[in-house]
């Protein structure tokens, strides 16, 4: 009886995959179209076998079989028919024999069973007939032999009767007193974690497309063999994009780097370029040649007249060098919408009213308008130019009402904030002047007169070099309007009123350190210098009174210091980071201030927050000259800055009452004063959303809100 191992070898059957990994199981591509042992009917189940062996034990047949099995061990491989050794069987193709046996006689193969015979064989259920190709025989494999083959493949004992552990007591009867009393382990009742993981992995693989079911494999193989489909795929890969993403999203290895692209040939490289690409009779190109073009386009009548391209080899070589020597850097482009980076600001149309259109011009100045201010009731506008003229205008019509001459070039002008005091403070070269505007009516005349009355100081400042004398007061003229002068040691640059209209602060940056900031009391005609040591941050540039508290803001070149006037101490220092502060403005609420600088910046400071600027804005192209808030900030939350670039920038600067909300600063309008020399001062109308601007070319303009 032939051995199954032999038959198996003769069949040349590929060993089935090890059953350890089910993932490989799923991948394995078993060919079902061949008959195999696997597919033989398996009627020899475990339970059946146990039952069978029990029956055999009882009948004594088991012992007999054991003897038989011992007999199995006796080898009879020697009487195998064909003894061709390692000669391949296909050498005998075309002959009627397939080899020679040990005796040297030809081995003539039997005819393999045809389909009908096989069907009859398979029908009896007692075994299968396979064809032994090596020996050319039909071999009948019984049911028991099939079982033995199956067991050998599993690595078990070949004979099903073999007891591996003969001493083990086995019984199908459940004893009342079991051998051990261990409780059923928990794992019997819960789903297996490892199996769960495996199932998950398989399911994941199927979902991702990493694994495929057998049916799918079969379908794909079938499709892959389809010639039409193969052609279409090849065509698609030829014309498709080069860097197609892996559909599964998993790419192994580095990213494919596309080769640098060659410039495609243009019309001028055609063998017959259009006439405009060619040269004229004198050899000049008719059109401007492209950059890098190092040949002269030439027209050929036909393609076969085109000569050899001399530089062909050289260019191919350089291209090859390019392809493998040139470093290919992977540039990652950020796919960010630039609009999304811009902070969301409200639409200026929702923030109306703000000054946005020219309303009227005030014509009368011939030199630069250095300062302007509007009276508290909004009826008059005062402007000062650097030749010493102070002009008074009617706001509603733009009519020049009066002109007053004040000595010296002027630098600043402020209207007294008190409603009853119709007085202008004008900073000039020799000091500060208080000018009666003659707009007082009724009882205001007396109040204004009282403010400007007083006794003149004796002597002049040159004679009294005494350090304690800060300002020398005198009445310059009485008619037609009263002008009171307070002579200072150095030219005054800025002037600021206290909200009550009695105190006045001036800044003279060129004076000695202790005299740079001077506070005057007009009703008593007294002056004092509160800062004995000047400011550490350089020359004092500007100073402003706090609108409601006894504070004085003093801006030096780099810092703003806040002094308590009653306690005479430093309260706070604001560092904006500007290199040269040029202007300073306090929000009417008193909790915020802005600092404009010559280095184009505008810093918004929240006095409750630290010393650093809350926001820094940069909207001008040249140095800032002035910054101002609308006096009625609750109704018109507006701020404006003017600059040497000839523009006025209007901001909507809303300050909220609750301390947690940051002020919203929105640039709403850039007003072009159309003065090439720059805009020197700007001021808001006290009750309307209107803005006045004064320029270096002498124009004064009013912008209103539309």
């Amino acid at each position: 009886m032939p051995k199954p191992s032999k038959s198996k070898k003769g069949k040349g059957k590929k060993p089935p995959p090890p059953p350890s990994s089910s993932s490989s199981d799923a991948e394995s591509s078993d060919s079902d179209d061949e008959r195999s042992y696997e597919d033989a009917p398996r009627t020899w189940g475990d339970a059946e076998r146990a039952q069978n062996s029990e029956q055999q034990r009882e009948s004594g047949a088991l012992q007999q079989l054991k003897d038989q099995a011992l007999d199995d061990l006796s080898s009879d491989d020697e009487d195998a028919g064909n003894a061709t050794g390692r000669v391949p069987t296909h050498w005998y193709e075309g002959y009627d024999h397939i080899g020679y046996d040990v005796s040297g006689s030809k081995v003539v193969p039997e005819k393999p069973l045809d389909g009908l015979d096989l069907a009859i064989e398979a029908d009896d259920g007692e075994g299968v007939t396979v064809y032994d190709k090596l020996n050319g025989r039909n071999v009948r494999i019984s049911k028991r032999e099939l079982e033995q083959i199956r067991r050998l493949k599993k690595g078990a004992f070949a004979n099903p009767e073999t007891e591996m552990y003969p001493d083990t007591y086995r019984s199908s009867v459940i004893e009342t007193t079991p051998l051990h009393n261990a409780p059923e382990p928990k794992r019997r009742f819960i789903p297996s974690k490892w199996e769960g993981m495996r199932i998950h992995r398989l399911a994941q693989g199927l979902a991702d497309g990493r694994l495929r079911t057998r049916e799918e494999n079969r379908r794909l193989r079938k499709e892959a063999r389809d010639p039409e489909r193969r052609f279409l795929e090849a065509a698609a890969s030829m014309w498709g994009p080069e860097d197609v993403e892996d559909p599964s999203g998993r790419r192994k290895g580095p990213l494919p780097v596309p080769a640098p692209k060659l410039k495609l040939p243009g019309h001028e490289e055609s063998y017959r370029p259009p006439a405009e690409y060619c040269v004229d009779d004198e050899g000049r190109p008719l059109t401007e040649p492209e950059e890098g073009q190092d040949f002269v386009p030439k027209q050929h009548d036909s393609l076969r007249r085109v000569g050899v391209y001399e530089k062909g080899v050289q260019e191919r070589f350089e291209r090859c060098l390019d392809l493998y020597l040139c470093p290919r850097k992977l540039k990652r482009r950020l796919a960010i919408d630039p609009e999304s980076l811009v902070p969301k600001l409200p639409d200026p149309r929702d923030l109306k009213p703000f000054p946005n259109a020219l309303c009227r011009s005030f014509i009368g100045h011939t030199t630069a308008v250095v300062a302007l201010d509007c009276s508290r009731d909004g009826q008059w506008l005062a402007t000062a130019d650097d030749s010493g003229r102070v002009l008074l205008w009617e706001v509603s019509t733009g009519k020049l009402i009066r002109e007053t001459a004040v000595p010296g070039p002027l630098s600043a002008l402020r209207w007294n904030p008190h409603l009853e005091h119709h007085v202008l403070a004008v900073a000039g070269k020799e000091g500060v002047y208080l000018v009666d505007t003659r707009t007082a009516r009724g009882d205001d005349r007396e109040a204004t007169k009282a403010l400007l009355e007083g006794e003149d100081d004796e002597g002049v400042i040159e004679q009294r070099r005494d350090a304690e004398v800060v300002g020398v007061w005198s009445t310059l003229q009485q008619e037609p309007c009263t002008i009171v002068k307070c002579a200072l040691a150095a030219p005054a640059r800025t002037v600021a009123w206290h909200a009550r209209g009695d105190y006045l602060a001036t800044v003279s940056p060129d004076a000695i350190a202790s005299m740079q900031c001077v506070v005057h009391r007009c009703s008593r005609r007294s002056s004092q210098a509160p800062l004995k040591r000047g400011d550490k941050g350089g020359q004092i540039q500007s100073c402003v009174f706090h609108p409601s508290k006894p504070f004085l803001f003093v801006a030096s070149r780099t810092t703003v210091r806040l002094y308590h006037l009653a306690r005479q101490e430093l309260v706070k220092t604001l560092r904006s980071g500007c290199k040269w502060i040029s202007c300073l403005a306090i929000h009417p609420g008193g909790d915020h201030c802005v600092v404009g600088s010559r280095d184009l910046r505008l810093c918004w400071h929240d006095l409750d927050l630290g010393e650093q600027a809350h926001r820094t804005l940069k909207y001008h192209d040249k140095a800032l000259r002035a910054a101002t808030f609308h006096p009625k900030s609750s109704r018109y939350p507006l701020m404006a800055t003017c600059s040497d670039d000839g523009t006025v920038q209007v901001f909507h600067a809303k300050v909220f009452d609750d301390l947690t909300t940051n002020p919203s600063i929105v640039p709403v309008k850039r007003l072009d004063v159309s003065s090439p020399k720059g805009c020197l001062d700007c001021a808001f109308h006290p009750t309307q959303p209107w803005l006045f601007s004064g320029s270096a070319d002498g124009s004064v303009k009013l912008f209103h809100a539309l």
């Binding site: 909004g378 019509t397 707009t439 539309l706």
Partner: protein, 383 residues
């Protein structure tokens, strides 16, 4: 516009002398005012009249189709077109020189006075000096049949009596701020100032022989005072025991003239410069170039007319019950028909001024002054 677009119209009029039979006619919708006028003149058969037409109470400017599209009217129904004789457009009739400073205000009425920025009052007809009234600019003038009221930048209020061809000062009062507006009738006068206050004064009765010396020494005290506005009372007009005021604080208010109690307050979004009232409809000139129409009965802004190219409207005056004239800082005088389009003045008068500061109608003529020492006169029949 297609030629075969037809509309059936019926012509009606309130003037019986120019009436035509009210049979419905079929006309092309492309017809404008001129063509409609031709049709009516042919129907009448008399002399050719220049006619204006109202369709649904609105003035027809442009073609009937445009009018229907603008006002959402149907061209399928019979359109009832009311026609009336068109008033001739005002024409420039010369100017008079008044001093050498700007003319800031004009008083309406039969004999028109001009107030100059140098403080003098001039007769607008011939340019002669009527009086030296104020120290500083004259800001407002108002006139009744026998009295003139003037206010100035010097906060003084002066009442003048018209007698023959002269005026005589009868009373002199003072505000605490510059006076911005005034208005008067036969018995009472009102003035508004830059502090937002409105003063009511009682005019002295017409005496046969006013003792000028004594009255000058007497201080003329206001009979009542009220804080009317938050900002300057820029315009006021007295009409039928109601005092209308407008202000830069964006409000228009109606006051009871006898008690100075507030009757109505309406607000808009711009500063208002001037006001004139006729038949309970007030026209206010705004700082952004709009003319807002207020109706006392429905107490709201009715319409806004925009023709001054965003330049401040400094003065408005009613000519008749539907027509008004406005002066703007763009140097133009616009004549409006309030039944017409809101952006299209009926006519624009040019008077060689950079800024028109005041306009007044009186005695069949229209007067305008501005940033030049001239008062320009326009013929305006019926004004």
């Amino acid at each position: 516009m297609e030629v075969d677009d037809q509309i059936r119209v019926r012509f009606v009029t309130k003037t019986q002398t120019i009436a035509v039979p009210d049979t419905a006619l079929s006309l092309a919708t492309a017809c404008g005012r001129a063509q409609l006028g031709d049709v009516v003149n042919k129907l009448r058969g008399g002399s050719n009249l220049d006619l204006d037409f109202l369709w649904d109470e609105k003035l027809v400017q442009g073609s009937l189709a445009q009018h229907a599209a603008r006002h959402g009217l149907s061209t399928e129904n019979v359109a009832e077109l009311e026609y009336f004789e068109r008033r001739p457009e005002p024409e420039h009739a010369g100017s008079t020189t008044c001093g050498d400073d700007w003319v800031g205000c004009l008083s309406g009425g039969a004999s028109v006075l001009a107030g100059s920025y140098d403080g003098r009052l001039f007769w607008a007809r011939d340019g002669s000096v009527a009086a030296t009234a104020h120290d500083g600019a004259v800001t407002c003038l108002a006139s009744s049949s026998s009295s003139i009221l003037s206010g100035g930048k010097d906060a003084a209020v002066k009442a003048w009596r018209l007698s023959g061809g002269t005026i005589k000062l009868v009373s002199e009062g003072e505000h605490a701020h510059a006076v911005a507006s005034c208005s008067l009738n036969e018995a009472r006068a009102f003035t508004g100032d830059w502090g937002g206050l409105v003063f009511a004064w009682s005019l002295p009765p017409v005496a046969e022989e006013p003792a000028t010396k004594r009255q000058k020494t007497d201080a003329w005290a206001p009979s009542s005072t009220t804080k009317a506005h938050a900002q300057v009372v820029s315009g006021m007009c007295l009409a039928d025991q109601q005092l209308w005021t407008c202000s830069w604080d964006h409000t228009t208010k109606i006051w009871d003239a006898a008690t100075l109690e507030e009757r109505f307050s309406g607000s808009c979004s711009v500063a208002l410069n001037c006001i004139d009232v006729l038949n309970e409809t007030a026209a206010t000139g705004a700082h952004d170039g709009a003319i807002l129409l207020w109706d006392a009965r429905c107490r709201a802004t009715q319409k806004s007319l925009r023709g001054h190219s965003h330049q401040s409207v400094s003065s408005v005056a009613w000519l008749s019950d539907a027509r008004l004239v406005s002066a703007g800082h763009d140097g133009r005088l616009c004549v409006w028909d309030v039944r017409g389009a809101a952006t299209e003045p009926v006519s624009v008068l040019s008077c060689a001024l950079n800024k028109c500061l005041c306009v007044a109608a009186g005695g069949g003529a229209l007067f305008a002054g501005g940033d030049a020492p001239q008062v320009h006169r326009f013929s305006a029949p019926g004004a």
